[in-house]
Symmetry: none
Subunit: 530 residues, 2 copies
Amino acid sequence: MSPVELYDTTLRDGTQREGIALSVPDKLRVARAIDELGVAYLEGGWPGANPKDTEFFAAAASGELALQRTTLTAFGMTRRPSAEAATDPQLAALLEAATDVVCLVGKSHVRHVTEAIGTTLEENLAMIADSVALLRAEGRRVIFDAEHFFDGHELDPAYATAVLEAAADAGAETVVLCDTNGGMLPHQVQTVTTKVVDHLADRPVGVGMHMHNDTGCAVANSLLGLQAGATHVQGTINGGGERCGNADLGTVAADLALKLGHDVMDEQALARLTPTAHAVAETMNLNPDAHAPYVGHAAFAHKAGLHASAMAKDPMLYQHIDPELVGNGTRLLVSELAGRANVRLKGAELGVDLDQDPTAVERVLDRVKTMEQAGYTFEAADASFELLLREELGETAERFAVESLRVIVDRGDEDDTRAEATMRVWVEGHRSIGTGEGNGPVDALDQAFRAAVNGALPPLDRISLVDYKVRILDDGAGTGATTRVLVTSTDGEGDWQTIGVSPNIIEASWKAMADAYRFGLRRAALREHA
Amino acid sequence: MSPVELYDTTLRDGTQREGIALSVPDKLRVARAIDELGVAYLEGGWPGANPKDTEFFAAAASGELALQRTTLTAFGMTRRPSAEAATDPQLAALLEAATDVVCLVGKSHVRHVTEAIGTTLEENLAMIADSVALLRAEGRRVIFDAEHFFDGHELDPAYATAVLEAAADAGAETVVLCDTNGGMLPHQVQTVTTKVVDHLADRPVGVGMHMHNDTGCAVANSLLGLQAGATHVQGTINGGGERCGNADLGTVAADLALKLGHDVMDEQALARLTPTAHAVAETMNLNPDAHAPYVGHAAFAHKAGLHASAMAKDPMLYQHIDPELVGNGTRLLVSELAGRANVRLKGAELGVDLDQDPTAVERVLDRVKTMEQAGYTFEAADASFELLLREELGETAERFAVESLRVIVDRGDEDDTRAEATMRVWVEGHRSIGTGEGNGPVDALDQAFRAAVNGALPPLDRISLVDYKVRILDDGAGTGATTRVLVTSTDGEGDWQTIGVSPNIIEASWKAMADAYRFGLRRAALREHA
């Protein structure tokens, strides 16, 4: 196999999954996480198609995104039928996104050309050639996504191939074969990709794969396409996407790197695969799939019993790779969630020296295990985890304690719902009570806390809660289910994430908020001493 | 491809998934559901290994199970090293299970023989031959699972092949190549299976596939093995199993039947694939995967907008099969881009005739647009959308009205948070007040509503809220952000989804719950009139 480049489309095709709505800060967070994996390309979105994507590219162009290892690309369509490329608003928005690389999508299926966009086959070729040429003339590198390619090739192989040639001849550096409806089986992908690679062998153009999972074969189809001579592969972190999702790019990368000896991710990036997949899922407000290949919580879980002694002799008799290579771990018992090495690594990452206390790692592990059983997850709540570590080392000094809280929500008619909260708080030996009103109960709690503290903790004024996420665990338990709340807070100089879990959503919210204030106050104290 | 037989191991390998614990009645229910699919074999469990499995086979032998279309098999291990087959307790338990067909597992990897079970390579061959011969002598048909076959073949192909020969020569009718650790890639499976099929061509024995999903390729590997000459394939409904799961037998079956023209399931059985997969998931207490190939709730979901007119002309331009073939349906997601065609199609899907009122579509569109701007989304809330449609047609008759509601959450210390709600409700001209307590505020509201209604709406007793999801919109607005609540409810015969949106999470929850009750009461009224 020739060298392979990974192309991530989590932020564009991945958001086509039903119910996904990412804010611009969410998109920036996902982009930075994926950047650390060192994939060749990261598709940021479709500028012009929606305001958030346009805003995202503006943030990127302003230097706010500051990607280190990956090349940002913008996605868009070819020019409209019977129009000029130079005045096409879509292409203008693509150029305005100011990325070095553009991914342009066009039709390669005759019926999609004539029926879906209602133009002639010749005009479609011209639309592709003109659009690629314009982008090239403006100094962009172009990747061309041939939509519905495999279905199109089945119906009319000559036309589907002519589309690829039009893009290549106009200057596209890669033409990507898309299984847009996801219906292909492995043997079809092998045959067609081999033909295409062979057909384009004389041109200075690479072939790429973009597979969907509607037959359950997206990963295999991607690999087989690469083995047939493709050199570029598109997918999404966690395999999210419309309908049954896209090829899971993390799985493809691990298969390529660990089983086919491909240099698609270096050792350090591979070891970040598991935490990155989980962080991306959390930011998208999805539960990480426990059974996902490589990165799933259960991917290396063994019911120990029978195999325990053989496992101890040689774990590789029972697992297909060493899970540490992808940042995951072997789990022998049902609830062994975090390994010692992980906690130690995490401590080092946070600047907490766990070696000063010989039983600290053990105690932290015990606590994490208990809390994770209750529904906590520290993958997206670094600040709560740091507070827990410091607490185990006896480092924390509580600045406040809550004696009681009460929230009342009432409404007389549709348009008149009120939320009110009251808190009794101790700050430095002094007890006070405060009441606040808000849009909702959580907002009211925030106001009540600030009213009760009443200026006794000045740094609090700079701390604000900027994001609040709720996840219901044990789905199926209805309104009595456990609730997990993740809060992002800022003091204007940085932000941090905290977590709270409870069957009562108000309680879960308060726990996450209390950690947020504690962490923010600690940051402020450190800055004062610095 | 030769004829292919499907072998279901949901009740044995499928229960190896972490957290699965099926009672005997659960196992009987799953077996009956799978029976309707008409798979060739259904593996009931491992008699002797655990009391529930022994009990399950006793129920089957007594006629209580009464399978119509599938052949029940029992799973077990070969005899112990240096012992007699005739007196082996494992084999005795297998015979006692009284199935016509037995699936026997044995080692085919030299290191598993010498290290895990600690015997010689010769003795392992004898264990296999003796055990198969004993079962044959007792009148059983034997399928032989060669554990760790692909890894074993990589290490010592001659020995792995000798194991298959030993089983075949002793009378096994099928030898199954297991990728027990799940680490194989498609090209490896193709190569090895082709070799094995070729090697065994002279013997009266079939070759089977048993694949795990640790590289994300279980379905593709199964298909490629069959295309290389295997004639038997093992898997589980919904792809459950240890670690990353087994090959999803439903996906494999649909791929084989609909794309490779195989007679593995008849038309009626295929059309039961979606309800069966969901029923099996429910019995195993798992959430059906919305993104699963063929059977997922989102497997044929389309964000219509742009494509609506082309979709209306020919839906097959946008989907790889007709979803009705597998008992699933096309879902058009009503989104902000919703056009008239969409609303009309959606109305038809719900059996609401929008043509009877000339301005209805326009009014619905306006309302959807306004509500979507406020944060509503009807993609996952069909019931709320149907209520909206019917309301615009003047069809709704409200069964209840809420005069006021109040929720109080308070806590004195960590372990003592209480939630209480009070509602004033009008039902058929009668006003009443009710109070309820709950785990959290939403649970308390549900209790308070039922207490206030106090039996005046009898169908309410059959309606329960089974799932509750919360999403925070306009992230970045912190604790004052808009909250979207999605509720799934059931009356034991079907379920429906409703939505509520508000900056106040309690208010958003109540809106979704009120729609849930309204929709459920309407269903009950329709049933009464039917």
